[in-house]
């Protein structure tokens, strides 16, 4: 089993791996759903999002946006873009 990461891996592969190892953690499921949303894989995004909501019932896009970790502009801009993915996956707005 390859345990260390490959440079060939992109976000979806790492997130899928994370969820495969531990399917019980809500946040990785939400983030996978958002990444699938951005990648245009909407059916799978919705499925993953439904699982995520059961695991982390308090998670909302509003909460996610309000609790940004820093004011760094690069980070903020990238994060706003990601919220689009969460919306496309059907995460609750809050």
């Amino acid at each position: 089993m390859p345990t260390s990461i490959s440079d060939e891996w992109f976000a979806l592969e790492s997130l899928r791996k994370s969820v495969e190892i531990n399917p019980k953690w809500g946040l990785s499921q939400f983030v996978l759903a958002g990444a699938l949303g951005l990648a245009g894989l909407l059916a799978e995004a919705a499925e993953v999002c439904a699982v995520a909501q059961r695991l982390a019932p308090n998670f909302t896009i509003a909460k996610f946006r309000a609790e940004a970790v820093s004011d760094n502009l690069v980070y903020r801009a990238q994060r706003e873009h990601f919220c689009e993915g969460l919306r496309l996956a059907g995460a609750p707005e809050g």
Binding site: F10, W25, G34, F64, Q78
Partner: protein
């Protein structure tokens, strides 16, 4: 606490007159009452005396008056002199900081005390460190040295007997002494299976470094390597070894050189039942041996630590399910934490740590677990009381840091609390400091990488997280580290392969 005349050290050279027990290092010395004057009584006194001993390293007269010589540390007999103390200090520094990753700590002590420059500023210059960083290294090195020597003279449950001696009649006493420390383990000398004696130093190095790595894990009592090496080449009876050393667990391992690769095997055995609890087996390409040593022992230590916690929490349920003490609750908390972590598991762990703290508010492991469990909820955006949970975590970690200022895990936890408080730059510094204290602390590397995402440096994340995975490829938090890399890739727009 008063230290009795003969030192309670784990080495046999304790000065028992007429003893026919072979001693490991020190010559047999006649028992003498401690010379009048100061006797070391508390850890603070001990650490102070050690600091003085380092400062007075080149003055036999001053060393002769040092209370350490009269309190008994390490393998010093009660009539040992300044030269013995000097030898003990330099040998301990070499052993404790023998791993390449602790090179700076060793150099700092050497250049400050053993071959001193006229001024500390000059030492900092020579090591190409800023004065502040140099002072930090010095404090860390001194603290680790003090703790190591203190524990080796205080915590040892029994004096070992050499395995060559008369075997103890089985059934004399219970296999596992209830008084033996819960997470007590001896790392037996790894076997060099291929038999090429040129590999012996490397194989012995694995045993030594693994012992050091384990002794750094919170709550673990690892028998010193000197004692463990007395079992080298002897037939292994784990139950007998457990009785002789007063440990609950025995770790056996081997290294096999197959030419291009080295194969490592290790297994953890319950010394009471003889049951095999855990095993790991893996190959490494025979590249840079020193790098490999570090990687091998970090991986083994983490796996063993996780299994020790699980085994001891099972034992508590088996042996005294109705009266858990603070340590039992803490072990249960960590055992829950080491499962596949979910919101539910994190809350369950938190309840255990909470129960532990109600019984002992100074339990450092429980304080750190309590803080981690609270901020975990915050950091996964599921807290309904962000400010309250952050506050609870901050109080706990501050207290832990006051009790254990040089604990890498305490700094790691403080970093996680700062992350929850949305202070990623300060968190980053804590993670960096945590790694200077303990380079093999995989989780700290991973979080260090994550912080860079929040600082607009997501490109750097992967290398840090990869280091965590190298050090602990089967970690219970592996899922989290893959997640960190995924998050960094999202920020870099690396969504799917084109």
């Amino acid at each position: 606490m008063m230290i009795p005349g003969p030192p309670p050290g784990i080495y046999a050279g304790d000065g028992a007159a007429g003893s026919d027990q072979p001693s490991f290092n020190a010559p047999d010395l006649p028992p003498t009452a401690p010379p009048g004057g100061e006797t070391v009584v508390t850890y603070a006194d001990f650490a102070g005396a050690l600091r003085d001993a380092l400062r007075d390293y080149h003055s036999a007269d001053l060393l002769a008056r040092n209370p350490l010589l009269h309190g008994g540390i390490g393998n010093l007999g009660s009539s040992a002199g300044p030269l013995d103390l000097k030898a003990l200090l330099s040998e301990t520094v070499n052993t404790l900081f023998g791993n390449p990753r602790d090179e700076k700590l060793r150099r700092v002590i050497e250049l400050t005390y053993f071959q001193p420059a006229p001024k500390q500023e000059a030492v900092a210059d020579r090591l190409a460190l800023s004065f502040g960083t140099y002072r930090r290294y010095l404090t860390t090195a001194r603290e680790r040295l003090a703790r190591w020597l203190w524990e080796s003279s205080q915590l040892a449950p029994v004096r070992p007997e050499l395995p060559a001696m008369e075997p103890m009649a089985s059934g004399d006493k219970p296999a596992s002494d209830p008084a033996s420390p819960r997470l007590s383990v001896v790392v037996l000398p790894f076997l060099n299976i291929s038999g090429d004696t040129r590999d012996d130093p490397f194989v012995d190095g694995i045993t030594e470094t693994l012992t050091t790595d384990l002794s750094r894990c919170s709550g673990v009592f690892a028998i010193s390597r000197n004692t463990a090496f007395a079992y080298k080449g002897k037939p292994i009876d784990t139950r007998q070894i457990g009785r002789e050393l007063g440990v609950r667990y025995v770790l056996e391992g081997s290294v096999q050189n197959t030419g291009e690769r080295m194969r490592f095997n290790a297994q953890l055995v319950d010394a009471e039942s003889g049951a095999h609890l855990w095993a790991d087996r893996f190959d490494k390409p025979r590249a840079d041996l020193l790098d490999m040593q570090d990687e091998v022992t970090a991986r083994l230590a983490r796996g063993i630590y996780i299994e020790l916690i699980a085994a001891e929490s099972r034992r508590a349920v088996r042996e005294h399910p109705d009266h858990f003490d603070s340590v039992d609750h803490t072990l249960h908390g960590w055992a829950a934490w080491n499962q596949h972590l979910s919101l539910e598991a994190a809350r369950k762990a938190r309840d255990f740590f909470d129960a532990a703290l109600r019984l002992d508010e100074h339990n450092v492991g429980a304080l750190l677990g309590f803080a981690k469990a609270h901020v975990w909820e915050v950091n996964m955006y599921t807290s309904d009381d962000r400010a309250g949970q952050n506050r609870a975590a901050e109080v706990a970690v501050t207290k832990a840091l006051a009790l254990a200022p040089d604990s890498a895990d305490a700094h790691l936890t403080y970093g996680m609390v700062l992350f929850a408080m949305r202070a990623p730059e300060r968190a980053l510094r804590e993670f960096e400091f945590s790694v200077t204290l303990e380079a093999s602390l995989a989780t700290a590397h991973a979080y260090l990488g994550l912080m860079k995402v929040f600082l607009g440096r997501a490109r750097e994340t992967r290398a840090h997280v990869a280091e965590a995975m190298r050090l602990s490829p089967r970690d219970p938090l592996l899922f989290l580290w893959h997640f960190f890399i995924g998050v960094a890739d999202i920020h870099l727009g690396r969504m799917v392969r084109a």
